[in-house]
């Protein structure tokens, strides 16, 4: 199936901070959740800004639903739901006022669905947002993002700062949203366990550059980390090494074919690798 979101060679430079988003290329297929991982300042929010046109890219192409989105393409934005980290809405509003505003903005705003979400999330309609907890604010933002029947959800650190129970509730909402096969989610998060739970693909970004995009199945079944001593490391085939990181007593080596590594290097311990560990190896490790 075609891609709902496609980025090709997207670049953006911020001369004052010396940061550069460098030729980022990835795509989100219809019916998939793509987790977007990277350290603070890696460029996740900048990439999302470029996608949503809140930031102007310097070069490259971004296609949403097969089309480059301009300021005037309001129809495309009808099909996107967005949740930012933190306070998405003014503190002096309540949920009822939010729905009245959204009703006047989205042609497909579904008031019944919004009220259903308020009920499911236990959110009071007339209480000011400033009295909401962080979890309640995020749930309200998610309710607003879903109540106009979007096809694509873009979530920038939407689960950060929430307790595990709240995060689990929110991830369940995303999974329910994915029941429709033409729906997709781009989920940027520091919390890699969330991505392991829901993402179909994970894209690693480091220092403005895209390191890799892998499917969760590949991560679970193919990628692995070898724990080598120095002497074992010296004997490894350089082609097998994606990145390595020297620790006090051993060297961690990330490989993309764990089964092959187990067969090839019988005296080396080969462990499954978590998204967290991959991120650390990619960020802090070295390449041959």
């Amino acid at each position: 199936m075609a891609d709902i979101l496609e980025l090709q060679q997207v670049s953006k430079t911020f001369p004052k901070s010396n940061f550069k988003l460098d030729k980022v290329t990835f795509s989100v297929p219809y019916g998939a959740i793509l987790g977007f991982v990277g350290e603070n300042g890696a460029g996740k929010t900048t990439t999302i800004g470029c996608i949503l046109n809140t930031i102007t890219k310097e070069s490259g192409t971004i296609k949403l639903f097969g089309k480059e989105m301009k300021d005037a393409d309001t129809g495309l934005r009808e099909k996107i739901g967005v949740v930012y980290d933190g306070d998405n809405f003014p503190a002096y509003w309540n949920a009822k006022q939010l729905s009245e505003i959204m009703k006047g903005v989205y042609t497909q705003w579904d008031q019944e669905l919004f009220e259903k979400y308020l009920k499911d999330f236990n959110l009071p309609a007339k209480q000011k947002i400033k009295h909401f907890s962080r979890g309640m604010s995020m749930k309200l933002a998610i309710a607003a993002a879903l109540s106009h029947h979007p096809q694509l959800l873009i979530l920038d650190e939407a689960t950060s700062g929430l307790d595990p129970v709240m995060r689990d509730d929110i991830l369940d909402v995303f999974l329910a949203f994915m029941q429709e096969e033409n729906h997709s989610v781009l989920l940027s998060s520091h919390i890699t366990s969330d991505l392991e739970k829901v993402a179909d693909y994970i894209t690693f970004l480091h220092d403005g550059r895209l390191i890799m995009t892998v499917s969760k199945n590949e991560l679970a079944y193919d990628y692995a980390v070898m724990r080598c001593r120095e002497s074992q490391f010296q004997k490894l085939d350089p082609q097998d090494i994606l990145v390595y990181r020297k620790r006090d007593l051993w060297i961690d080596v990330l490989v993309s074919d764990g089964k092959g590594a187990r067969r090839k290097y019988k005296d080396i311990v080969v462990d499954h690798v978590s998204v967290d560990e991959i991120m650390l190896l990619l960020v802090k490790g070295e390449q041959i």
Binding site: D71, R77, Y84, P90, G104
Partner: protein, 214 residues
């Protein structure tokens, strides 16, 4: 667009209701006391005050991520700017209505406190043109310089509005002969200049806002 206007109305209402409370108390005092200076003060405060509340809504959008979030809604940047300009017009009308009621009550109890009815018109024209000049200066500065400098831009906008108004009044007084017809012409020039500035400020603000990144 309807949603954006509602958003601005809610935003302004939060500040304007406090200001309206003050204006009601001030209005009771002004109605009770027979003073032309107080009447002038009340009219200017009312008309400009509600407009100040309206322009400050643009700043309150950026107290949360709402200012950035709005850009992801199915609206154009020009619509966002237009909604702020419309919001200022709405609250300018609210201000006019407010001081109009007070002035009517005062006239009912004490008669017209001014020598000529045209003086009332001049006073309203001055207040309205100051509000329009203020908006015309504030919005481009605000979008160019950022929400964090909102207060200083508001001060600059108010001072510019004072300056522009008194420059226009001084020039018209200098060039035109005294008389009721001249006063009307002066009002028309004042209103025309401020409306023109407000109208030109809109495309300039849109142009600036289109280039901004959030």
């Amino acid at each position: 667009m309807k949603g954006l206007i509602k958003n601005n109305l809610y935003g302004t209402y939060a500040n304007a209701k406090v200001f309206a409370g003050f204006m009601i108390l001030f209005g009771v005092f002004v109605v009770a006391v027979i003073s032309q200076s107080l009447q002038i003060g009340y009219v200017m405060t009312g008309i400009i005050g509600f407009s100040v509340s309206a322009v400050l809504t643009a700043k309150s959008d950026f107290a949360s991520k709402w200012g950035k979030y709005k850009l992801t809604l199915p609206v154009r940047r020009a619509d966002i700017v237009r909604s702020h300009f419309l919001n200022q017009m709405i609250w300018l009308l609210v201000g006019i209505l407010f001081v109009g009621i007070e002035l009517s009550l005062s006239s009912l109890f004490h008669g017209c406190p001014f020598d000529q009815p045209v003086d009332i018109l001049s006073m309203f024209a001055l207040g309205i043109s100051m509000s329009l000049f203020m908006g015309a200066v504030f919005f481009p500065l605000f979008y160019a310089g950022g929400a964090e400098r909102g207060e200083v831009f508001l001060i600059i906008a108010i001072l510019c509005a004072f300056g522009l108004d008194f420059t226009i009044v001084s020039i018209t007084n200098e060039l035109l002969d005294a008389g009721a017809g001249t006063v009307i012409l002066g009002i028309i020039i004042l209103a025309g200049c401020s409306l023109l500035a407000f109208g030109l400020s809109y495309p300039l603000t849109v142009c600036i806002f289109r280039k901004k990144e959030y």
